[in-house]
Structure formats: structure tokens, C-alpha cells
């Protein structure tokens, strides 16, 4: 059973092809991370899933429904930041959003109380949104998307700008939603959050799918060509060796991307210098993201710096 199935979807705005021949299946009950640089088609994809805009070609099935908006009441969407009426009180806003999902006040009031308690906002229920801090407003926003108990929850950058305590509380809340059987899709720029939280990752770049799968799958696909090593003589000892595609010298150790299998490289290396450390490195999601999305004219040194930081 899939919560979302996207099949051969295309969407064009004037001359820009925002999404091109995209296919994707999000299993029910999973946490799925949507990553990609700005302007790569994430928001367009999410809007098509939400049925806010329609694809030019292809089909999208959400919670088993194909017809327009049939699944709407079971899907909640949280746009990045904002999305709240500043002049409404917290409770009135939560009720309004819940009722727009077709729930009665009697149904959602207990859920509102429960979530406000859980996220330490109970004292703020009758305050106006514009009296809340940014972190509180973000939590209210999250609550507004879950009080209707959706089967599918789509979050756009839910953790950006939150302090560690609130980020932790929200992360627990997301995990809680999954435990209750909700499928969670969230888009993020924060690769470490995606790595910690997501069962599967989907990356879109220039309207096309470039990554899709579990973290292990992705690491297996991208992860067999980088080694970290320490040799007697440092980076100088490596010069002239065959199979080095790029070298990132950290001083005490070197990261090398290879164009030949690691074991073949190791044999050549052992013949030349004393090897103190040799590790086939699993690349971080960050490395993979940067490797795919780095502009062609980007300075390699800057890219290496990012890799070192991860």
C-alpha cells in the first residue's frame, strides 16, 4: 500500500519545466524526506500532491484516490513558516483549520487540548497568534496540521529556526504521528535531520528525480568510491598514483575519490608507502547532495571544504 504514487508526472510553467517525468512511490507509514536545492521543483511536486495545482501529464494517486480532492480531508500540509492568521486566537485558528478538514468542533477540541498540552502551549490557547514567539507559532502551525488526524502529513521545513528543545519536541511529535500510522513527507535543507529521521529519501534536481531510496541504498549507490587514508609521507606520497579522481588533503589524513575499485588502489598504495589507515568511507547525505547539485563551474576546493565540515 502506497500513500502517494506519482507516475510520469510533468508540469510546465510558461517556458520553465518545473517537474519532468517524475515517478515516485511513498509507502504508507513511512517518513519520506524530500530534498533538493531551491527552485528544483520540490514545492511544485508538493502542490501537485496536495491537488492545489494539476499536472500537465501523468497521474498522481493519494491514499488510493485519483479523483480531484477526494483525499483532501485526510491530508495535511504545513507550508514553511507563517501560514497563520496573526489576529486570531490560537484556539479559534486551530478550530477553523480543523473544520475546513470537515471535522466537527466536538471532534477536534479534545485533540487541540491534547496537542497544546503536549507542546507546552496550553497557557497560550486564548492568546492571539501575533503575541506568540516564532518558535511557539511554529508549534501552533504544526498542531494545526495534525488536529484533524490526517493519514498523510506533508511538512515544508518544519524544523528551520527552532531552538534545540523545540526541535526535539517537534521531532518526537513527528515520530508519534508515524507511530499512529500517519505517513509523513517532509522537505528540508537540513541533511542531518533528514538522515536521522527519514526512512527514505527523495531528491529532485532541475525537475528530475536524482535520488530515491533508503539511506543504505543511496549510500551503496554513491558510497564505494571515496576512501580516507593516512600514509607515511602525507599527500606527497600519493602523487602520480593511478585512479585518483580528486584529492582532499586534510593534513593528517586525506580523502580521495577513486575512479578504480578501492582494493586495486590499496594494492598500488601499499607498494609505494607505509599505510597507517585505510577506510572505505560512507558518504554523508550532505556529500551526495553537494555532489549532485554543485554547479558545474563550482570551485572544487570550496566543495571539499563542505565535505570536510560534514
Amino acid at each position: 500500500m502506497h500513500a502517494i504514487e506519482i507516475d510520469g508526472v510533468r508540469k510546465q510553467f510558461d517556458t520553465v519545466r518545473a517537474v519532468d517525468d517524475l515517478s515516485l512511490a511513498v509507502p504508507a507509514g513511512s517518513i519520506y524526506g524530500f530534498i533538493g536545492p531551491n527552485g528544483s521543483g520540490k514545492t511544485t511536486t508538493i502542490r501537485m500532491i496536495m491537488n492545489i495545482i494539476l499536472p500537465d501529464a501523468g497521474r498522481i494517486t493519494v491514499l488510493g484516490h485519483r479523483s480531484t480532492g477526494a483525499a483532501r480531508d485526510e491530508v495535511s500540509y504545513l507550508p514553511e513558516e507563517r501560514g497563520l492568521y496573526k489576529k486570531m486566537t490560537v484556539r479559534r485558528l486551530l478550530r477553523y483549520y480543523g473544520r475546513l478538514k470537515g471535522r466537527s468542533t466536538a471532534e477536534i477540541d479534545p485533540a487541540i487540548g491534547e496537542w497544546l498540552d503536549r507542546l507546552a502551549l496550553a497557557d497560550w490557547a486564548d492568546r492571539r497568534i501575533d503575541q506568540l514567539s516564532k518558535g511557539m507559532a511554529q508549534k501552533v502551525q504544526f498542531i494545526s496540521s495534525v488536529v484533524s488526524r490526517p493519514k498523510l502529513l506533508i511538512l515544508d521545513e518544519p524544523f528551520s529556526g527552532l531552538d534545540p528543545v523545540n526541535a526535539e519536541a517537534l521531532k518526537d511529535a513527528v515520530l508519534e504521528m508515524r507511530a499512529r500510522g500517519t505517513t509523513v513527507v517532509f522537505s528540508t535543507h537540513d541533511m542531518s535531520t533528514a538522515e536521522r529521521l527519514c526512512d527514505r529519501i527523495f531528491m529532485i534536481f532541475r525537475g528530475r528525480k536524482v535520488l530515491d531510496g533508503s539511506l543504505d541504498d543511496i549510500a551503496a549507490e554513491y558510497g564505494q568510491d571515496t576512501v580516507r587514508l593516512r600514509v607515511q609521507g602525507g599527500a606527497a606520497a600519493l602523487s602520480g598514483l593511478a585512479g585518483i579522481e580528486s584529492l582532499n588533503d586534510h593534513g593528517n589524513y586525506q580523502d580521495v575519490r577513486l575512479s578504480i575499485p578501492p582494493h586495486a588502489f590499496l594494492q598500488a598504495l601499499v607498494a609505494r608507502a607505509e599505510v597507517r589507515h585505510f577506510e572505505v568511507k560512507r558518504p554523508s547525505l550532505h556529500d551526495i547532495f553537494v555532489r549532485i547539485a554543485r554547479p558545474a563551474d563550482h570551485e572544487p576546493a570550496a566543495g571539499s571544504g563542505l565535505e570536510a565540515a560534514s
Partner: protein, 430 residues
């Protein structure tokens, strides 16, 4: 349908809680009432001064009747008791061989020293029939009208008396023969079922202008309050990405319908409050005859159409803007429509039956205002015009709501530069 109600209810409750609405609904009648009270108080109270003025009487015979008339005027103003008007105090001037210029310079100085309020120079030949030398009135305070206008009337009466006497004509006969016949304005006469002819009703200013004006103001107030609110609400929703949340839950049509329904509700409530207040006021003034139920019902119909039409225009424009700055330039065409309706109304109020007024009644954005005025002003337009204008209005309201829906659908998710008119038209056609 329940989603539309949810939106309408929230929209309604939000709007009637805004400060602008609450202040508007209470402040407007208070201001209007205060204005009328002040005006009538000011009219009664303002002028109880003694106005001394000198009279250079070149004829030698006009001062006496003038002084007599001033005494009568002062008695009417309540001299010796509570004053309800000014007192006029004429003083004769003895020229005593001085030149006219010397006398006038001296009198002017006395006016400057506030010993006198004004002085008047009556030329010697003013009694000759056909004389064209004017009576001259000199004052520092040239905007004060009561004294010169009283002088104009009083002196002309006195001059006429002298002229008739000189010509040997019997004054009493002349005044009987030239007495003015009064003209009063009445409505039409009807023959009742029992054959008796009903008393024709006298039509006063209040019926002719007061009631239509009340309707006109109320209609404008409702349209502008709800239009402004919609514009700001839509832009806020767009700027804070609420639109995306809403569209994730309901269709653009449901959202638009809910919003329009909300403001129609507000307009109706506003009008009913004012109807209540208006009826209370005219009833306590004993003028319940001013309340005409069919006119009230017509008003509600036109109000609903106007709220829908202008509401849609403002929603469409609002959804095409990304911030309030855009909105100001986008608003211009809408404000032109509103101004057209406003100016058109004044043309209609002057001549409800003129071809221009009839034409304006069929121009959709003007119809609610023009037709309402004509309906409220006796005898009212022919039925076929009312029916035709309502038909045109309903059809065009439908069209505008439909077009606004199209713009709304595209505009809500559009960020950045506001579209120009050709782009808007393309959205509508899409």
C-alpha cells in the same frame, strides 16, 4: 457546502470584530447626529450681537422708514429679553457740507475702531424710477450676510413706497394686485375603492432627498467596508502563505464563495442595524410615512448584488497582488468604478428620469446605486426598467464572480510581480 459556511462564518466573525467595523458602525450615526445637532444649535445661537451702522441718506426720506423697520426687527429678535438674533442699530449721518469722500473716510475709521459695524450710502437719485446708481454698503466684515440682506429688502420696500407715492399710485392696491400665489408640491391623487378621492400628500424635502440619500450612503458604506476588508484579508493570506494551507483543505471556489457570503452577511447586518436605527428615528419624529417596505426589500436585493460584485472585484485584485504596495496600483481601476457610481448617483439624484439617469441605471456597477435612488425618489422608475436593470445586474454579477474565481485560482499561488491587465485577462480566459 459546510466548508463554504465555515469560511463564511469565520470571515463574518473576523470582519465584525475589526476595530474599523465597530468604530464605523457606531461612529457614523454619532457623527451624523452630532453634526445636525451642532448645525441647528449654531443657527439659533451664533448671532446675538448689536450691529451699529451709519446711514448717509442722500434722499432725506429713507432714514425714517429704515429706523422704524430696525425697531420692528429688534423686537422680533427679542430686544430687552432673551435674544434670538442680532440687533440692528442705525445712526443718521449729518454731512454738513463736507465732501462725500471726507465723510466716508471718517466713517471707515470709526468702523476700524469698532464703534460701527458698517455704513451704508444711499445716493440722492435712488428714488428716480430707472436710476442705476447703487446703494453702497461698506463693512470690514464682508462675509456677514444678515445686515446687507436685511438692508436690501428693507430699503427696496421703502424705495418702492416712495416711488409709488411720487407716481400717484395707490400702494395698497399695488400690493394686493402683486401678491405672490404660493406653489406647494404634492404627490398624486388616487380614487379609493369606495369612490372617495384620497387626500393628496404633500411631498417635502425629506422624502425627496433625505431618504434616497440615506440609502445611497448606506450602500456605499457597506460596499466599501466589505471591499476593503476582503482586499486586505486576501493579501494577508497570500503574504503569510495561509492561502496554501486553505487550498490544501478546500477548493478555490469554496474559499471564494465563503468569503463573498461572509461579506454579504456583514453588509446585510450593517444595513439591518441602520434600518432599525433609521426607523426608530423617523418613528420618534412622527414620520413613519417615510418608511416604505417595498423600497427596503429592493434595497436588500441591490445590496446583495453590489456586495457580490464589488466583493468579487476586490477579491480578484487582491489575489493578483503580492503586497499592499501592489494593491494600491491595482486598486485604481476598481476605485474608478466606485467613483463612477458615486458621481453617477449625483446626476441621478438631480434628475431621476433623465435619459442619462436611465442609461446609468443599466450600467452594472452603477445599477445598485442609481436604481436604488430612483426607486426611493417618487414617483420611481417604470417596472420594466427595474426588471431589466435587475436582470442585467444579476447576469453581470455572475460574470464578475466567475472571472474573479478564475483570477483567484491563479493569483492565490502567484508570488512576485503583480500581473498587468492583459495578463489578468489571460488568466480569466484560461
Amino acid at each position: 457546502m459546510s466548508r463554504i459556511w465555515t469560511v463564511a462564518e469565520t470571515e463574518f466573525l473576523t470582519l465584525i470584530r475589526t476595530k474599523a467595523f465597530i468604530i464605523g458602525i457606531f461612529l457614523m450615526p454619532v457623527l451624523m447626529g452630532g453634526f445636525f445637532l451642532f448645525m441647528s444649535y449654531a443657527e439659533r445661537q451664533i448671532d446675538t450681537e448689536t450691529r451699529a451702522f451709519a446711514v448717509i441718506d442722500g434722499t432725506g426720506v429713507l432714514y425714517a422708514p429704515l429706523a422704524e423697520a430696525a425697531d420692528a426687527f429688534n423686537r422680533a429678535s427679542g430686544e430687552g429679553g432673551t435674544l434670538t438674533g442680532p440687533l440692528f442699530e442705525p445712526q443718521p449721518v449729518d454731512v454738513a457740507g463736507r465732501s462725500a469722500d471726507d465723510v466716508k473716510v471718517e466713517l471707515s475709521d470709526r468702523v476700524r475702531r469698532h464703534e460701527l459695524f458698517a455704513f451704508v450710502e444711499i445716493p440722492a437719485d435712488v428714488l428716480d424710477a430707472g436710476a442705476d446708481s447703487p446703494i453702497r454698503y461698506y463693512s470690514e466684515n464682508t462675509s456677514y450676510e444678515r445686515l446687507p440682506s436685511w438692508l436690501r429688502t428693507t430699503l427696496n420696500e421703502a424705495i418702492a413706497v416712495q416711488r409709488f407715492d411720487r407716481a400717484g399710485v395707490d400702494r395698497a392696491l399695488v400690493s394686493r394686485l402683486t401678491a405672490r400665489a404660493p406653489v406647494s408640491t404634492f404627490g398624486l391623487v388616487e380614487r379609493a375603492a369606495d369612490g372617495s378621492v384620497s387626500e393628496a400628500q404633500e411631498v417635502d424635502e425629506l422624502t425627496r432627498f433625505g431618504v434616497p440619500f440615506f440609502f445611497l450612503l448606506l450602500m456605499f458604506m457597506s460596499v466599501m467596508t466589505s471591499g476593503q476588508h476582503l482586499l486586505h484579508a486576501i493579501i494577508e493570506e497570500k503574504m503569510s502563505k495561509i492561502s496554501e494551507v486553505l487550498l490544501g483543505s478546500i477548493t478555490p471556489f469554496q474559499l471564494l464563495a465563503g468569503k463573498l457570503l461572509g461579506v454579504v452577511g456583514v453588509s446585510l447586518v450593517l444595513s439591518l442595524v441602520y434600518f432599525g436605527g433609521g426607523i426608530y428615528v423617523v418613528a420618534s419624529a412622527g414620520r413613519l410615512d417615510l418608511v416604505h417596505v417595498p423600497t427596503l426589500l429592493w434595497f436588500l436585493l441591490f445590496l446583495v448584488c453590489a456586495a457580490l460584485m464589488f466583493g468579487s472585484i476586490f477579491v480578484g485584485l487582491g489575489s493578483a497582488c503580492s503586497d499592499l504596495k501592489d494593491a494600491q496600483s491595482m486598486l485604481q481601476p476598481a476605485m474608478i468604478l466606485v467613483m463612477l457610481a458615486y458621481l453617477g448617483s449625483f446626476l441621478v439624484i438631480r434628475a431621476p428620469d433623465s435619459p442619462l439617469s436611465v442609461g446609468l441605471s443599466f450600467f452594472p456597477t452603477v445599477t445598485p446605486f442609481a436604481m436604488m435612488l430612483r426607486l426611493a425618489m417618487p414617483p420611481g422608475p417604470p417596472l420594466w426598467q427595474v426588471v431589466l436593470s435587475v436582470a442585467i445586474l444579476l447576469a453581470s454579477t455572475g460574470l464578475v464572480v466567475w472571472a474573479a474565481g478564475k483570477v483567484f485560482r491563479v493569483g492565490l499561488l502567484m508570488q512576485g510581480k503583480a500581473p498587468n491587465l492583459p495578463e489578468l485577462l489571460r488568466w480569466i480566459r484560461a
